[in-house]
């Protein structure tokens, strides 16, 4: 089951420098262990018994047909793949490399932001009343 899922994951999220392929991250077992994801992912895999015999182009075509045939389960598979992929340290490092996004936890550091400038309200503050008074 996990070998088939590994192939499937790399079709969904192929490698592209600096991003690793999803199938190379060892996230297949974690996906199958997550209660929200396990059932739908297994259902999609069951609908793709010959995936490992297909070349990449045919495999992608088969996936698209499966997505059309069982959209809800396939959507959950995609959420599962993205969820474990985009929280994997190697992927977060790649995002940091490409965008500067800080790959660590948001807390306790948070982010610096410029304070709000009240002068920005000059135009809206000068308007007459904008609400209806039913009294």
């Amino acid at each position: 089951m996990t070998a088939e899922l590994t192939r499937l994951l790399s079709l969904l999220l192929p490698g592209q420098d600096p991003f690793p392929a999803a199938g190379a991250l060892g996230i297949d077992r974690a996906i199958l262990a997550e209660p929200r994801f396990a059932g739908p992912v297994q259902a999609v895999l069951a609908a793709l018994p010959d995936l490992d015999t297909l070349g990449e182009r045919d495999a992608v075509t088969r996936l698209k047909a499966t997505e059309a045939k069982m959209p809800e389960a396939f959507s959950t598979l995609v959420v599962a793949a993205y969820s474990f992929y985009y929280t994997h340290p190697l992927v977060l490092d790649a995002i940091e490399t490409e965008t500067g996004y800080k790959s660590g936890a948001p807390q306790p550091g948070g982010y610096d932001l410029a304070p709000f400038d009240p002068d920005m309200l000059a135009i809206p503050a000068a308007r007459p009343r904008q609400w209806r008074d039913p009294r």
Binding site: Q16, S83, Y86, Y101, F116, P118, W131
Partner: protein
């Protein structure tokens, strides 16, 4: 967490409140402060503010699993399932001390005066049996307890006292959109948010936080998974410390499954399952239901109470929301800052028949998502899988801002909460089912709003604008299922939240809303609740003398 209170339930109390969220907490504080003995039963437990996924690098995974806002997805043992197959908008809620304020974005607008007069002003729905000015002093007091950042002086709303802390930073996306609104001549204002921009309030002193108080927001982003600095208000760190200090009793993991009444129609108490699964009963002179617009309707239906009008569970309202997202060439870095609060455009809020729909909508600027949220599609449509995935992800990540088109949902009796025929909670108690669809008025309003949002993003210089006609995972405002009114044949409670059919049964959550407005309901729930408590306090002899 041994320092957090979880007390044994008494056998009887003056007042029993069901639910420790926004409305229940405010009710408990107000009554306890007046010396009335109160016990609150909450089916969830305490959540330590320090115990948040945002302290871990893989925090976004929690949003899709353990901290998902939909109880059917989250599958937390404190929750009950909600049958949602016939619901165009899915239920979002949280069951714990603090209720759904533990998972909210803390956008904190008040209803406008016109929201209480939809029938008189626009000829649709119904008027409320009270008005904005009845609630105004309660809004102010609630602001002081929750702590609101913002700035007073908005000509879009009635005057109010200075906010407790200054506005939160609005970020680059906020600056862009504010300037665009100015050029378009559309009114906007910085959002009121129940989030500290500077330290305010004592917060929860348990769980190792003795004396730390509620600190300033550090702009980490995901308010919805918890706030370890307690900058974002939730009732577990605002009202509950006050209520407990005043003598209220709070019993956690107590799952109420019925309200009991005698032959005369007076309620006598509630039945609940305790943390060990034992069925128990607590007697009360007054019962207050504050279990949200789904949970309260469920309990009334399970108990066969309060339904002379036939409206219990009916007139379910949400805030149907469309979403427009602008993609910019430059970085917006909208993952910095509280995700739901920045600026608010109410230019199209008041009803205007020339627009082709009744009532109006707000456009709330929300910031952009972190990596997983961007890829999986919350504000944006999902980034497609396959060979082009990474290029598309990099084209949009951190470069977006989004506007909600949050509309007023007119009440319809066929939108409703019922008891499901087969689904139950883990104790075998029938689960609620939501039956809900959008009407044509709402669809026209969303379409109009998305066009306006597109105009705003184009004015702001977006290189691409993407829209979603309806955000389905948006059932966080649950309203209308036990509406208030003067006529017992056409409403469930009176204007003081008392059930017409049962003078000692109150409802203190969004169930009582007559109309939904197009603004976040929590400040209004928290204004209505202590107002209802004040009526009980005035009638205190009834509380004491009805044994």
């Amino acid at each position: 967490m041994p320092s957090l209170p979880s007390t044994e339930a008494p056998e009887a109390d003056d007042v029993v409140i069901v639910g420790a969220g926004a409305g229940g907490a405010a009710m408990a504080w107000r009554l306890a402060r007046a010396g009335i003995s109160v016990t609150c039963l909450e089916q969830g437990g305490w959540v330590d503010p320090d115990d948040t996924p945002s302290k871990h690098p893989a925090w976004e995974l929690a949003r899709q699993t353990t901290h998902h806002p939909n109880p059917n997805t989250r599958m937390n043992g404190w929750d009950y399932p909600v049958e949602q197959s016939d619901a165009a908008i899915k239920p979002l809620m949280y069951n714990a001390v603090g209720g759904s304020t533990l998972h909210w974005g803390a956008h904190f607008p008040r209803f406008r005066p016109s929201d209480f007069r939809a029938r008189s002003l626009d000829g649709v729905a119904d008027d409320w049996p009270l008005d904005y000015w009845d609630l105004a002093p309660y809004y102010e007091e609630n602001d002081r307890i929750m702590g609101v950042s913002g700035i007073h002086g908005d000509p879009g709303n009635p005057p109010r006292e200075p906010r407790q802390t200054s506005p939160l930073p609005i970020g680059e996306g906020g600056r862009r959109m504010a300037a665009a609104f100015d050029r378009l001549g559309w009114h906007w204002w910085v959002s009121d948010a129940a989030i500290n921009s500077t330290p305010y309030g004592e917060g929860w002193k348990g769980a190792g936080r003795q004396g730390a108080g509620r600190l300033a927001c550090n702009h980490c982003g995901p308010c919805d998974v918890g706030c370890p600095v307690q900058a974002r208000a939730s009732t577990d760190i605002t009202y509950w410390p006050l209520a407990l200090s005043a003598g209220a009793t709070l019993l956690t993991e107590a799952r109420v499954f019925g309200v009991e009444a005698d032959a005369s129609g007076r309620v006598t108490g509630v039945a609940f399952h305790d943390a060990r699964g034992n069925a128990r009963r607590i007697k009360a002179q007054i019962v207050v239901l504050a279990a949200n617009g789904v949970g309260t309707a469920r309990l009334l239906l399970l108990s066969n109470l309060g339904n002379r009008s036939g409206l219990v569970g009916r007139r379910l309202m949400h805030h149907p929301t469309g979403m427009a997202t602008g993609v910019f060439a430059e970085r917006m870095d909208g993952f910095r800052g509280p995700f739901a609060t920045s600026i608010l455009c109410q230019h199209f809020y008041e009803g205007n028949a020339t627009r082709g729909f009744a009532r109006g909508f707000q456009m709330q600027l929300v910031r952009s998502d972190a990596p997983l949220g961007t890829a999986v599609g919350v504000y944006l449509p999902r980034v497609p899988w396959g060979a082009a995935h990474h290029d598309r992800f990099l084209a949009v990540f951190g470069k977006t801002a989004s506007l909600t088109v949050t509309t007023e949902d007119l009440p319809r009796e066929d939108n409703r909460v019922v008891l499901d025929d087969s689904l139950t909670d883990r104790m075998g108690v029938p689960a609620p089912k939501m039956i809900y669809s959008l009407d044509d008025n709402t669809r026209r309003m969303i379409a109009f709003g998305l066009q306006r949002a597109r105009e705003a993003f184009e004015e702001a210089g977006a290189i691409e604008v993407l829209t979603q006609d309806l955000v389905t995972e948006a059932g966080f405002h649950l309203m209308g299922t036990a509406r208030m009114g003067e006529d017992p044949e056409r409403s469930v409670t009176d204007s003081w939240n008392r059930a017409h059919d049962h003078p000692n049964l109150l409802i203190a959550d969004g169930s009582v809303f007559v109309t939904a407005g197009a603004l976040n309901p929590t400040p209004t729930i928290q204004a209505l609740s202590p107002r209802a408590a004040d009526a009980l306090i005035r009638d205190r002899r009834d509380v004491r003398g009805a044994a």
